[in-house]
């Protein structure tokens, strides 16, 4: 059977494997024997985890280019492997990096691409990808008619399930052409550095509102923002009351934010506030009032007291940072 290439997402420190890869492997197994493409060190724990989620083969490669020019080098690597193994499909997680890699790979291979798949299955004439279209109102099923199908997968839509295998680890030898060095990273702002990113361009924003009740409690916002490498902000009310500086105001007349994650603490979600954060990709809200309008736009809403939930959340986050692992219930669901 033709293999299915799965590009592995790595965690930075310590080197490990992201949960998204486990989800991708879960889907990949339906299409053929998964071949996990592992860039960077092939440590025993990572190999074992990939095996547990069904990787039949692990192609490993550790080269400086993969770290310095992540997108271009991975496109080079995947197209090399695709030409060598003619896989049944290539699966990449659909985050920013993954989308770029998949698009370039598809263009280079002359292959069809289906983005943001929430499910995959084997059809009569090849893999079928399911997308959620028009704000989730429709399920669209597509298949690729030309070339090696390339899919980006929304890993959050897939529950990983284990299917242990003993993976065959193969080392890949590849000399990268100079073209992969076309895009250079010139500065890197390490996560957790002193100053948080600018509010307008931040990927993660944690904002507080009236529900925090006091300037002291507003420290919870700063603490959670720091824990998530995000930027703190405040609602119109919070800035009016002097709980946070004016430049941190997320409001129709303040800063308009476009983060991937927006965490609203004690914010009811007035229309002027929503005007400033409605572009957020994912919204999590914690507020005491179950009828707060913020819950109408939240992807996850918690009705509760921020003063009690947030300290618990901070503790939970530091616990998980200390022991990064796939939680038990995810493996078995």
């Amino acid at each position: 059977m033709r293999p299915v290439l799965v590009l592995v997402d790595r965690t930075a420190t310590p080197p490990g494997v992201c949960r998204s890869t486990c989800a991708l492997l879960t889907l990949a197994r339906r299409l053929g024997p998964p071949m996990a493409v592992l860039c960077g060190p092939s440590d025993a724990a990572s190999v074992a985890l990939l095996g547990r989620f069904g990787a039949a083969t692990i192609a490993t490669i550790a080269r400086g280019e993969l770290d310095q020019h992540p997108a271009a080098a991975r496109v080079e690597l995947l197209s090399h492997l695709a030409r060598r193994t003619t896989p049944a499909a290539v699966l990449v997680a659909s985050h920013r990096l993954g989308q770029e890699i998949a698009a370039r790979l598809a263009a280079r291979l002359g292959s069809g691409l289906v983005s943001d798949a929430v499910d995959l299955r084997m059809g009569a004439d090849g893999p079928v990808a399911v997308q959620s279209a028009l704000l989730g109102a429709y399920r669209v099923e597509s298949s690729v008619t030309r070339g090696i199908p390339v899919f980006t997968v929304r890993a959050d839509a897939v529950a990983p399930t284990a299917a242990p295998m003993e993976p065959d680890v193969q080392r890949v030898h590849l000399n990268f052409p100079s073209a992969v060095r076309a895009v250079r990273r010139i500065t890197r702002r390490p996560a957790g550095s002193e100053l948080p990113p600018e509010l307008a361009t931040a990927a993660v924003v944690v904002a507080g509102g009236r529900g925090l009740g006091s300037r002291q409690s507003f420290g919870l916002v700063d603490a959670l923002a720091k824990a998530l490498h995000g930027t703190p902000g405040g609602s119109h009310t919070a800035t009016e009351l002097g709980w946070c500086p004016r430049r941190e105001q997320i409001d129709q007349v303040g800063t308009i934010v476009h983060p991937r994650l927006y965490l609203a603490l004690g914010i009811s979600g007035s229309v002027r506030h929503r005007a400033a954060m409605r572009h957020a990709e994912t919204i999590v809200a914690i507020d005491r009032n179950p009828r707060a309008p913020i819950f109408d736009v939240a992807d996850l809403g918690v009705v509760g007291d921020v003063h009690r939930v947030v300290p618990e959340l901070l503790a939970e986050i530091s616990r998980r940072k200390a022991y990064p692992m796939i939680s038990h219930n995810e493996e078995t669901t």
Partner: protein, 713 residues
Amino acid sequence: MTVRLVLGLALTAVAFGLAGRRILTLLRLARAGQRAEPERTTHLGPRLWAIVTEVLGQRKLLKWSGPGLAHFAVFWGFLILGATIVEGYGALFDPDFHIPLIGTQAWLGFLEDLSIVAVLVSLVAFAAIRLRHRPEHEGRRSRFFGSHLGAAWLVLFMIFNVMWTLLLCRGAQINTGNFPFPEGAAFASEAVARMLEPAGHAANEVLETVSLLATLGVVLGFLVLVVHSKHLHIGLAPLNVLFSRRPRGLGPLLPVHSGGVPVNFEDPDEDDKIGRGAIEDFTWKGMLDFGSCTECGRCQSQCPAWHTDKPLNPKLVIMSLRDHALAKAPYLLASSDDERAKLPRDVLAEAARPLVAPEASGGVIDPDVLWSCVTCGACVEQCPVDIEHVDHIVDMRRYQVLIEAQFPKEANVMLRNLERAGDPWGRGAKARLEWTAGLPFEVRVFGAGGEERLPDDVEYLFWVGCAGALDDNAKRTTRAVAQLLHEAGVEFMVLGSGETCTGDAARRLGQEMLFQELATQNVETLTGAGARKIVVTCAHCFNTIGNEYRQLGGDFEVVHHTQLLSRLVADGRLRPAHPVDTTVTYHDPCYLGRHNRVFEPPRELLGSVPGLRLTEMPRSRETSFCCGAGGARMWMEEPLGTRINETRTDQALDTGASVVAAACPFCISMLTDGVATRKEQGKAADDVRVTDVSELLLRSVRAENEAPGTLRQ
């Protein structure tokens, strides 16, 4: 005798020459402005009536009783004393001169003397006011802050000189037998005569001549002074009142005019002047406004921006424009480029000043001044000479937005949302019916049943408005009004997703192009639906649909919900039976009250609720203090000075009321914020609430404290 005739006529010739040259310059300057809107010279009836009430009756001045009475006395004193000038000139030719027919009658002599005394008393009052409120003493709070103080004192001094020389002359005339009035009439002149009598006949003859020449000299000097100072208003104010917008310079904004013709934004002419980008872009009426300003500071005393320590001061705006216009006049009036090049350096520097720019770049009007205006119209309301401050500010904004793209960047968010989603928050048409969820009856939506015209049984089209449909506080009002109309059996329909913003904020920001787009679309929708009677809950929608859509051919009868509900209560169709035991203060929304004169209906509604006690704020009705949201200020940051909404909140809290009622969603939003802040600071009781008048009515019509289906705060 001949000497005094020659001297008198020579003085007159010099003064007329000086004054005439100045008047000619001013006239040419006014003509350098654009043509004014043609409506300014039509409808003569109301215009003349305005002259009668505002000029002759001094209606607006008398709103401030003390200074108003003093001005009334001086104004009428001067009119009457016109007779003494005629008498004076007559005396140059013939010492025995008297005005034909009435010239020797006692009442005239008495009236003239009364006027002299009244003017002198008024002068004392004016001086006292100026001393008491001098800027060195009161700073920004002084209404003479930034006014030309020296010139004002000089004018008072000159009037004083006219009076005492006149009195002296008349006294001497009595003693020389040249006085035309019978004994016992001119009481003040006679008192002076008695004092002069001991000097002897010859001395009195000399005194008569000298003081007559002095009087005429002072009057002529005064004439020259007047045309060179802020006291131009003596001549210009009546003209300004004559050509001002009627019934008042409030309510609708005028469309963008260029050369006296409205600009067609779908296909504008290349030479069209958009807004005011330079002083010469103002119309002659604008120039007349600037010339009419007396620097009295009544406008600034009412201005919410000035009250909260912002740089905007309507008086200083007009003064800056006038001073700039006069300083740039040689440049504007030069006949050729060569002549312009030869002008003194300071004139060229003045000509190079941008109209709107920061002070550091030499701007005449600072952008912070321009963008601080809430267009509440308190200045226009007060101005005794009917200057149209708001129109000038919006016209300058129009240029800044449409040509320069210079405006507070926060407002861009609102404009883009209006453009892309049709409402200022970017929620989009789909969200416009969310407020109906959970109501115990079905709200009829136009077009839902496939109808293309409003059915005959529908009496009112309920225009919900962006805030009414999307803002959580305003949605409560919308639901309350819908429930009350349902309760009263009034058939109504809403447009649902067929509504877009009326464009009020865009227009007041100066984005006329976007306003025209939105307004045209709405006029088409409303006309297409056959809407005639429209009820609105937003004071801004009320003003825009009711007053401004007429400019685009949309003629609708628009009522505010407080008007409709108060009529329903009066007709017995709504019965506020249950007592609401609370103290309420009512905040007049600018665009409902001052701009559109709806003062009573909300108060009638509150009065109809049993148990409810209404306490008024010192600033209410015509002098209501803006909440801070008007003039698109809702959509801008307020970084300068203190908060307008908090200032108004304090005024409301000072009444001791536990409910602050208003009748406009933006006022409610601003006051809610203000009360929340004060509560947080411990300066307001926890039970103080801000609410719409209709919600109080609903509480009284229904037994429940909280109407079913109403969102809880």
